[in-house]
C-alpha cells in the first residue's frame, strides 16, 4: 500500500534521513523504531508532505506522491497525528474534528451555510469512538494533555483515511492513559479497516501491537522484519547499545 524507496533529506550539512526504505501492506500495523535522532519524525514528515525529499520515491497505492503538498497527500487517504500536540487550541473539541470532516467532504469553502448544521453526525460519531463526546463543547486548549493527544487521533480520523500515521501517539502520557490509548488504537484499526504506521519509544507497546517493525539508525533503514526477527537481529542490539531491546 505504501512504499518508501531510498528517501533522503538533509538540513544544511546534517543528513537527517539517508536511504530509508519502508513497505506497508494493507491492514498491517507497522512500527518504526530507532534511537533519538534516528530520523523517524523526519521520515513521517517526508511521507505526509510537510518536507520534500531530495532523493528517492514514495508510492501510495502504486501512485507516486513524492513531494506533493500535505493537503493533496491527505486527500489521497493518508492522515496523521503529530508527536507534539498539534490541535486547534481556540476551537472546541467538536470544531477541531469538524474542520477535518468538512475538509474531507469538500465543504471547507462553503461561504454562507451555517457550519453548525454540517457534518454533525459524522463528527459526533468520531468523538464517540474515541471517547471525547462528553467533552465536545469544551475549548480544545483547556483539555488535559492525554485528551489532547486522543483528540489528535480523532482529527486524523476525520479524513476517513486508509493509512493512519501516528507519531508517538502516547508521548508524555501517564501509564494508565498509555494503556487506554493503545487499546483505542487497536480497536480503531479493527473496526475501521485502518492500516497503521506509527513510531514509539516504548518497546513494550511496539512489540505488543506491531506486525512488522522497521528499524532506523542514523537516518538509515537497518532492516524491516517481523518482531521476532528484529528482536534476534544483532545489528538492532548494537544500534541500541546492547540489550535495551528485550
Amino acid at each position: 500500500m505504501l512504499k518508501v524507496e531510498g528517501v533522503e533529506k538533509s538540513f544544511g550539512d546534517f543528513k537527517a534521513v539517508r536511504g530509508a526504505n519502508l513497505t506497508v501492506e494493507r491492514g498491517d500495523i507497522v512500527a518504526v523504531i530507532g534511537p533519538n535522532g534516528a530520523g523517524k519524525t523526519t521520515l513521517f514528515n517526508l511521507i505526509t508532505g510537510q518536507l520534500k525529499p531530495e532523493r528517492g520515491r514514495i508510492l501510495f497505492k502504486g501512485e507516486d506522491i513524492t513531494g506533493l503538498p500535505p493537503y493533496e497527500i491527505c486527500k489521497k487517504g493518508i492522515a496523521r497525528s503529530f508527536q507534539i500536540v498539534n490541535i486547534f487550541h481556540r476551537l472546541t473539541v467538536f470544531e477541531n474534528v469538524q474542520v477535518a470532516v468538512l475538509a474531507h467532504q469538500g465543504k471547507s469553502s462553503q461561504l454562507f451555510r451555517p457550519a453548525r448544521k454540517l457534518a454533525v453526525e459524522k463528527t459526533e460519531e468520531l468523538l464517540q469512538s474515541v471517547g471525547l463526546l462528553d467533552k465536545a463543547y469544551e475549548v480544545a486548549g483547556t483539555l488535559s494533555h492525554g485528551d489532547q493527544k486522543v483528540l489528535e487521533i480523532a482529527i486524523a480520523l476525520g479524513n476517513d483515511p486508509e493509512l493512519l500515521i501516528l507519531d508517538e501517539p502516547t508521548a508524555g502520557m501517564s501509564p494508565e492513559e498509555t494503556a487506554s490509548t493503545i487499546e483505542l488504537i487497536k480497536h480503531l484499526a479493527e473496526t475501521r479497516n485502518l492500516t497503521i504506521l506509527f513510531c514509539e519509544h516504548d518497546m513494550e507497546i511496539v512489540f505488543s501491537i506491531a506486525k512488522s517493525i522497521m528499524v532506523m539508525h542514523q537516518g538509515q533503514t537497518l532492516l524491516q522484519a517481523s518482531p521476532e526477527e528484529v528482536r534476534r537481529d544483532p545489528r538492532v542490539q548494537e544500534a541500541y547499545l546492547g540489550g535495551e531491546v528485550c
Binding site: 503529530f82 486547534f88 487550541h89 481556540r90 474542520v99 454562507f112
Partner: protein
C-alpha cells in the same frame, strides 16, 4: 444555545434605536454616528483576516482608500451611470486585495505583515504623487452624489442599510464552514494543511472577501464626506483600525464595532480639546494590554461565561 436565540431580538432593538437617532440628535452627532458605522465595517472587514484568519494584515487602510478613490474618480471623471461607480469601488478594492494578497500568503506571520505594509505603501505613494489623476495630496472634493443620498439624513440611512447587510453577510461567512476552517488555520496552519485544506488559497479568499468589504466601507465614506484624500491609504489609519480590532476584542464578532466607536469618539471629542488625542489613546492601549488582553468584548463575554458555566465558553 439560549444565547443565540437572543441575538436577533437584541440586534433588532439596536437597529430600531439607530433608525430613530437622526430625529433626536443634532446634525453633528448624526454625522459622527454614520462615521462610526463606516469605520466599524472597515474594522470588521480587517478582523476577518486578523482575528479570524490570524494574518497580520497591517495595511488594511489601502483597500478602504482604493474603494473610495475608485468611486470618486468614476463619479468625477466619467459620465458612466452612477451605480457602476458604486459597484466598481468594492470590486477594485478586492482586485488590489487579490494582487497584494497573492504575494503575501506566500509568507508567514511578521513577514506577511512587512510585505503587506510595503506593497500597500506603494499604492499610497501612487495616489499621493499622481497629481494629474488623483489630485495628489489635495485629494478630490465636491464629489457629486445621486440625489437620493445627497442629504445627511438620507446618506445616514443609506449607510446604515448597507452596513447592516454587510455585517449580516460577514456573520454568515464567519459561521460558515469557510469561516470555521479559517479559524482553524489561525490556530494551526500546519495542522490544517495536514487535514486536507489548501491553506494559502483559503487565506487568499479570506483576504479578497475582507478587502471587498473594506472597499464597501470606502464607498460609504465618500457617500458621507463627498471627498477623498490620500490619508485614507496612509499607514497611520491602518494602524488605527488594527487598534480598533485589538481594543474591541479581535476574537469576537462585534468587538471591532465597539473598538471603532471608541476610537472615532476619542478622535472627535478629545480632539476638540487637544490635538494630542493620540496621547490619550496611548494610555488606553497600555491599560488595555494590562487589564483587557482580549479586548472589551472578550472581557464582557468572559464575565458572561463565568455566570453561565460551560455554555458561555462556547464562542459563537
Amino acid at each position: 444555545m439560549q444565547k443565540k436565540d437572543k441575538w436577533p431580538w437584541l440586534s433588532a432593538a439596536i437597529l430600531g434605536i439607530l433608525v430613530l437617532l437622526p430625529f433626536m440628535l443634532p446634525r453633528f452627532y448624526t454625522y459622527i454616528i454614520a462615521l462610526i458605522f463606516v469605520t466599524a465595517l472597515l474594522a470588521m472587514s480587517l478582523n476577518l483576516t486578523v482575528g479570524y484568519g490570524g494574518m497580520y494584515q497591517f495595511h488594511h487602510g489601502v483597500f478602504y482608500g482604493v474603494g473610495a478613490y475608485t468611486v470618486a474618480l468614476i463619479l468625477t471623471k466619467t459620465s458612466w451611470p452612477k451605480w457602476v461607480a458604486f459597484l466598481a469601488g468594492p470590486l477594485a478594492a478586492a482586485v488590489v486585495g487579490f494582487l497584494i494578497g497573492w504575494f503575501c500568503v506566500r509568507l508567514t506571520r511578521l513577514y506577511f505583515g512587512m510585505l503587506q505594509i510595503s506593497l500597500g505603501s506603494l499604492v499610497w505613494a501612487i495616489v499621493f504623487r499622481w497629481y494629474s489623476f488623483t489630485g495628489g495630496d489635495d485629494g478630490i472634493h465636491g464629489i457629486p452624489m445621486p440625489s437620493f443620498i445627497s442629504s445627511l439624513k438620507s446618506s445616514y440611512y443609506f449607510i446604515l442599510a448597507v452596513v447592516t447587510v454587510c455585517i449580516y453577510l460577514l456573520y454568515r461567512i464567519v459561521n460558515s464552514p469557510f469561516g470555521r476552517t479559517l479559524q482553524a488555520i489561525r490556530d494551526n496552519p500546519d495542522r490544517c494543511e495536514a487535514v486536507g485544506v489548501n491553506v494559502r488559497r483559503h487565506q487568499l479568499v479570506a483576504i479578497v472577501i475582507a478587502t471587498f468589504f473594506a472597499g464597501v466601507a470606502g464607498v460609504l465614506f465618500v457617500v458621507l464626506e463627498g471627498s477623498v484624500f490620500p490619508d485614507l491609504l496612509f499607514w497611520v489609519l491602518s494602524l488605527e483600525i488594527f487598534i480598533m480590532c485589538l481594543l474591541g476584542g479581535w476574537f469576537t464578532f462585534v468587538g471591532p464595532i465597539i473598538g471603532a466607536a471608541i476610537i472615532v469618539s476619542l478622535r472627535t471629542f478629545v480632539g476638540i480639546y487637544t490635538e494630542y488625542w493620540t496621547l490619550i489613546l496611548g494610555v488606553i492601549l497600555i491599560l488595555l494590554i494590562f487589564f483587557l488582553p482580549e479586548g472589551v468584548m472578550g472581557f464582557v463575554l468572559e464575565r458572561f461565561a463565568q455566570g453561565r458555566g460551560e455554555l458561555g465558553k462556547r464562542r459563537g
